[in-house]
Amino acid sequence: MADTRLRRFEWAPVRGVWRHELALFRRYWPSSSFASTVEPTIYLLAFGFGFGSLLGHVAGYRYVDFVGTGVVATAALFTSVFPGMFNTYVRRVYQHSYEAVLAAPVDVHELVAGEASWIAVKSGMFSCVPLLVAMLFGLHPAAGMLAVPLFTTLTAVGFALFGVWASTVVPSINSFDYVITGILTPLFLVAGTFFPISGLPAWARTAAHVNPLYHCVELVRHAVFGFHPLADLGHLGTLALFAAVMAVLAVRGMRRRLID
């Protein structure tokens, strides 16, 4: 290439990372799509119809609708944070792929942007599947649903970056168990997905409000059942702030691990 000054952030490396991911996705889309879509659907069916038959209505919604909208957020969590953690760790530690990428005109923040954006877009799309399944079971379509992929993608950006950061903190791949059990499981449970947080003790309600997943759950429910403009701006702002903080941490962590 010609000898020209390059900008601090360029899209070419992001496109290169996407090209790599797309080639892998073409090969593995059946298995990765199966896991990403069927698992949340099972949650929806199990909780929606299992508990739904006992509960009927929760917080003013049919329980199957309540869970159907909530599971969208958990799908966004799991389909972003796990690739963020495991793919990044394996590529950095075992495959040494990032050493090759960083020998090209690519900086760490561009590499992280490429990896996180791919995971987020894929996760943002996959996590809408439970909504489609819920519609098959009686959830009424709404115009606001069109905004759901944006909310799930924004959520997935934050959690993908969280996963990337976590991959730079753990001393070994086995240590992800601490992250999963100690952080992700509580986030998953205290987000208003399967039960409303209003029934929780005050400290748990406070904790839920700093849980990014809760804000995603609220946004998805509001998109389906009616927006609350001011509150939703707050939810969006919280998710954007989460993504921004995680971006700083992920880039710092990767730089510390990849540049000595």
Binding site: T4, H20, V101, A103, P105
Partner: protein, 311 residues
């Protein structure tokens, strides 16, 4: 611009902190120029600082002291610009095994910002260089070790770089594959591409390098063409004495008293600059069946200057 060295390192120092907290100086005041259009062999034993030096040139390792310039760009300040103009062939095989040969090259064609129109042609050219055109659709996991190594080289050349860094390009390869790669590297050199090749294989440096820089303990201990290095540090000829340990120790003491360098390899003491052995010393050393005289080699220089035998 044409007269500027492709790579300049000035008083470069790189220190690491070991797991026990102690400090290791991997590169210790390294000063080196790699002229444009030259194939320079960076020769040294394991742990000499070769790979750290290579990593510093791509800014994957940051120097604690000193200045580095690559193709006119100060590193790390303009490392991205420098990396755009150079190709790197790492010691570690970090190809993506799940992708095909072509896909591996296409990803890097994107990363090197090749324009859409030239991308396909560049990939085809890289496939031809690596003699992998017929394997373009094969997944890397199904390639032989030699093919994978050729693909690694092709990946580093996909954007037709002005400078190529080869880090131990043939380490662990069988002789046939090594010969194939030597042909490939010789082709690069003949085209006028600047090549910096780290290696601890003497034969590799002798065959391919226009000039060699010998590294030991994180610094350059000698530099020149192979012929110059041999003439300066080992002379014209070497006399090898074989015998029991006591006799070898006696020979070493005698030769050192005469001011000539020696090297010890197993049951052999080699006297360098053997053409300068005075008659009195020659008598003392003897001239029996257990003495062999041969031409001095780069290996002799390597051993004398680094204190290490060739692995």
């Amino acid at each position: 611009m044409a007269d500027l060295p492709a790579i300049t390192l000035r008083d470069v120092v790189k220190r690491y902190r070991d797991k026990d907290g102690s400090q290791i100086t991997a590169v210790d005041g390294l000063t080196l120029d790699v002229p444009a259009g030259v194939c320079l062999g960076l020769l040294g034993p394991n742990g000499a600082g070769k790979s750290t030096t290579m990593r510093m040139l791509t800014a994957q390792s940051r120097a604690d002291e000193g200045e580095i310039t690559v193709l006119g760009h100060p590193v790390p300040a303009e490392a991205k610009e420098a990396r755009a103009l150079m190709g790197v062939v790492p010691q570690t095989d970090n190809l993506d095994e799940e992708l095909t040969v072509r896909q591996n090259l296409e990803v890097f064609a994107h990363l090197y910002r090749l324009p859409r129109a030239g991308r396909r042609r560049a990939v085809e050219r890289a496939l031809e260089i690596a003699q992998l055109t017929g394997r373009a659709r094969t997944r890397v996991v199904n390639l032989s070790g030699g093919m994978r190594r050729r693909l690694l080289v092709a990946r580093g050349l996909v954007h037709s770089p002005r400078l190529v860094l080869l880090d131990e390009p043939t380490v662990g390869l069988d002789p046939q594959v090594r010969a194939d790669l030597w042909g490939l590297i010789a082709g690069l050199r003949d085209e006028g591409t600047t090549v910096l090749m780290s290696t601890h294989y003497i034969e590799e440096a002798e065959r391919l390098a226009d000039a060699c820089a010998l590294m030991s303990g994180g610094r350059i201990v000698a530099q020149g063409t192979p012929g110059e290095l041999i003439a300066h540090h080992a002379g014209d000829s070497v006399e090898e004495h074989h015998g029991p340990p006591d006799r070898l120790a006696e020979i070493e003491a005698l030769v050192r008293r005469a001011g000539l360098p020696t090297r010890r390899t197993g049951p052999t003491v080699s006297v360098l600059r053997a053409e300068h052995i005075p008659p009195s010393l020659a008598d003392a050393l003897g001239n029996g069946d257990r003495v062999v005289r041969r031409a001095a080699s780069l290996e002799d220089v390597f051993v004398v200057l680094t204190g290490e035998n060739v692995g």
